[in-house]
Amino acid sequence: MLDVMQINSFYGKAHVLRDLSLSVTTGQVVALLGRNGAGKTTTLKSIMQLVVPRSGQVRFNGTDITGWPAHRVARAGLGYVPEDRRIFGDLSVLENLEVGRQPPRQGTATWSQDALFDLFPNLAERRRNRGRDLSGGEQQMLSIARTLMGNPSCLLLDEPSEGIAPVIIEDMARAIVQLRDQGLTVLLSEQNLHFARAVSSHAVILDRGTTRYSGSFADLDADPEFRDAWLSV
């Protein structure tokens, strides 16, 4: 479904991604792992074309989307949830959802506000509150819900568990598993190995902008030495 082929991305003159490749097949939940600064966020931004790779290709359902404006990428069915959530603080929960609303798309589930409130019950009680008045966990849920309003076929989640109370992390993991069971493809970046393992079957390990490992968690655990070399702090 999603193929990243040898992309090179820069921030100004800083070379962040070096010939990075990865792929995600339909229905998979893949965790993007790696230390701070490994390039996880940049990878997701490069897929979304918020950072346009200088070379290489990003293909989505077989189409080369490299260089497209971000809104076109979103309309093609890629949903992006940024790491810092980027809730519209002045807008109410309902209005935040409205910004994300896109027309129904063939072949993917069509989300309604009510369906999202079922998925994230905490949000339902706060639908009239302004975005800035929500807690960190609620904002994270709202950010995911807002993106789901665009009825994506593939979700890019940047560190969904970051800065969230442990109780809420469990809710979050449950929601992601639920999304997976409904057939949504997910690529999520994660620092929290337990969380990643709970929701995804496959892992991609990044280091200094390059892919070091790509495969199942089971295979990764078979070689603890290798795993710890790339993941332990």
Partner: protein, 620 residues
């Protein structure tokens, strides 16, 4: 009591048009982050288009239909401007877009002159609303009452659009985080264009609706510009209720000012604004602006270096060549080059503030004019010799800058820029209305250099020494520890503070230094021309300098000087044509679109590509 109420009603009626125009400006800024200087021009266009339509369309239906149609037409003109002029430069540094909108002002001015001619047009009376109504014995025009009734509906409709519709939700979301809105699948380009349509349509509506009260003339664009900026700033950037409140406040005060303090009308508005901002720095209903990074977006700054031996040699040769001008060139060229030198110093002083300090001042003319009037007043009232006047001109302007800077530097970004503009206007109003001392509109004349410096050659050398000296002093300051601190404060205020720099004191000092240098240029200007008029303090003067700095290149040390020289020369050629504004406006727009790094920046890039100059080393 009757008079009081009648005046209150007049003020409320005047607030209608002002609110419409100001809310359009506020909307456009909120979403696109562009301070649309051309907004007054769309207002003027609305008046002219409305006038023509009212001639064609008959009766009451025609009158109100003409107003609505005008809104749509002006909105569409706005769309054309947005697509042709602004779209190519959204990615350029924010302030470059200002210069583009200034080009649009010039173009619209001349187009209006071409189509409607130079004479003022008297607006038609509204059918069915011609006479007056007596309220407590005082006559109140019926049309005023109609306006008072209509404005809240416009405001309400606007509020409904913004608060209740999907478009409004997207607009508010984009005001906070444009990129995220795009990542959620909304096409920002069309959102921007839509907002521009709405904003310009409101300006056009305002222009058309005031026709029966004010008519149409070619000065409307600049006349309303200061007022709408004041309204938006007093009300709070991006707040519609704030804009309404401020429009009413300003209009009502203005009407009372005319009656009770006729000398103060122009000044009053700015005094109110200064007072409001001192108490509520972000306007009555505004919220704290998340300080953007004006002019600094895009590539990181290149570090500036002291000139090497080769560059110093070239500059020295250039100055030597300049010194030869009176000997080899015809007299008119000597005078022209004197003007250019003075303008270069003025531009360099703004560049210092803007490029190195990151402080975007819209009112730098205050110090140029301030210096000019300091010198002229000394000569006119105290018979002071030129030498003393030239010494006191920069000191006077510097003192002025200390006072204005102390107040303005409490704010940042757009608010800072607006406040500097307001102070420049305040000064202009003072000079304009305090005729006994300043000569008002007639200016101060017959201020010539003493005999020893009266020949254009001697005065040229005087100007050469002072201007080159001033520019070198500014350059020196840039490379001194003071300059490092200033740039540190520009790039990261917090980190600079953390390393022990008192950023506000440094910026205050820079503001004063830039003001003093502009004042020196102003002092020289008076003696070069033999006179001074209030237009040296006008918005257009400030804009001239801004344009020059951007055309020259904000991020290059020589940008101000090179831009100044090119601009003055081009202007000298262009002003010989009848429609020079059109030509200048189109030139400015072309430069903005084709060479967004300015003249010096583009030349440097060209030099690097051709291998004549060394590109900065890679890696960071």
């Amino acid at each position: 009591m009757g008079l009081f109420i009648a005046q209150l009603l007049t003020g409320l009626a005047n607030a209608g048009a002002l609110f419409m125009v100001a809310s359009g400006l506020s909307l456009i800024f909120g979403v696109t982050r562009i301070v649309n200087f051309a907004h007054g021009s769309f207002y003027m266009l609305g008046a002219y288009v409305g006038y023509t339509l009212m001639q064609v369309l008959p009766g009451a239906f025609g009158f109100w239909g003409a107003i609505l149609l005008t809104g749509i037409i002006v909105g569409l003109v706005g769309v054309i401007v947005e697509i042709v002029v602004l779209r190519p430069v959204y990615r350029a540094p924010e302030l470059f877009q200002l210069v583009a909108t200034f080009g649009v002002i010039l173009v619209i001015q001349d187009l209006a002159l071409m189509i409607w001619g130079p004479q003022d047009l008297l607006g038609p009376r509204a059918p069915g609303l011609k006479g007056v109504v007596r309220i407590l014995g005082e006559p109140v025009p019926k049309y005023d009452l109609a306006l008072i009734g209509i404005t809240p509906f416009v405001a309400l409709a606007l509020w409904w659009l913004i608060a209740r519709t999907r478009v409004g939700i997207l607009v508010r979301a984009a005001t906070q985080d444009r990129e995220m809105v795009g990542a959620l699948g909304v096409n920002q380009s069309w959102l921007f264009t839509g907002v521009f349509f709405l904003g310009c349509a409101l300006a056009g509506l305002g222009g058309a609706v005031q026709l029966p009260k004010g008519g149409a003339d070619l000065l409307m664009d600049f006349n309303i510009l200061a007022s709408i900026f004041v309204v938006v700033v007093i009300g709070g950037m991006g707040s519609l209720p704030g804009a309404y409140l401020a429009a009413v406040l300003v209009s009502v005060l203005n009407v009372f000012g005319v009656t009770y303090l006729p000398q103060s009308t122009l000044v009053l508005m700015f005094v109110v604004m200064a007072l409001v901002l001192m108490i509520r720095p972000y306007g009555l209903l505004g919220r704290e602006e998340v300080a953007g990074d004006p002019g600094q977006s895009g590539e990181p700054e290149r570090p500036i270096k002291p000139a090497g031996a080769r560059v110093r040699l070239i500059v020295a040769a250039g100055i030597a060549l300049l010194a030869l001008v009176p000997l080899i060139a015809p007299p008119f060229a000597t005078v022209l080059v004197t003007d250019i030198l003075i303008f270069c110093l003025f531009a360099a002083s703004l560049h210092f503030l803007l490029g190195l300090g990151g402080l975007v001042s819209f009112g730098h003319a205050a110090f140029f004019g301030g210096g000019a009037y300091t010198a002229a007043l000394l000569v006119a009232h105290a018979d002071s010799p030129m030498e003393l006047a030239l010494l006191l001109a920069p000191l006077g302007a510097g003192l002025l800058a200390l006072i204005i800077g102390w107040i303005c530097l409490r704010l940042t970004g757009v608010y800072f820029a607006m406040l500097t503009l307001a102070f420049a206007q305040l000064l202009w109003s003072l000079v304009y209305q305090w005729g006994d001392v300043t000569g008002g509109d007639d200016g101060l004349v017959d201020i010539w250099p003493p005999d020893w410096a009266s020949s254009s050659t001697v005065f040229f050398y005087l100007a050469l020494v002072l201007c080159v000296g001033g520019i070198l002093a500014l350059r020196h300051a840039a490379h001194a520890p003071f300059g490092y601190a200033l740039r540190a404060a520009r790039d990261s205020k917090r980190q600079a503070e953390a390393t022990g720099i008192d950023t506000r004191a440094v910026q205050w000092g820079a503001f004063a230094l830039a003001g003093a240098m502009a004042g020196l240029a102003g002092g020289l200007f008076v003696f070069a021309k033999g006179s001074v008029f209030p237009n040296e303090l006008e918005i257009t003067r400030s804009f001239d300098a801004l344009i020059v700095v951007f055309l020259g290149g904000v991020k290059t040390l020589s940008g101000g000087v090179v831009g100044g020289a090119v601009f003055e020369s081009v202007k000298d050629v262009l002003t010989r044509f009848e429609y020079w504004r059109l030509a200048l406006g189109l030139t400015i727009i072309a430069v903005v679109i084709l060479a967004p790094e300015g003249i010096v920046g583009s030349l440097r890039r060209l030099g690097e590509r051709l291998g004549l100059l060394r590109a900065p080393e890679d890696g960071s």
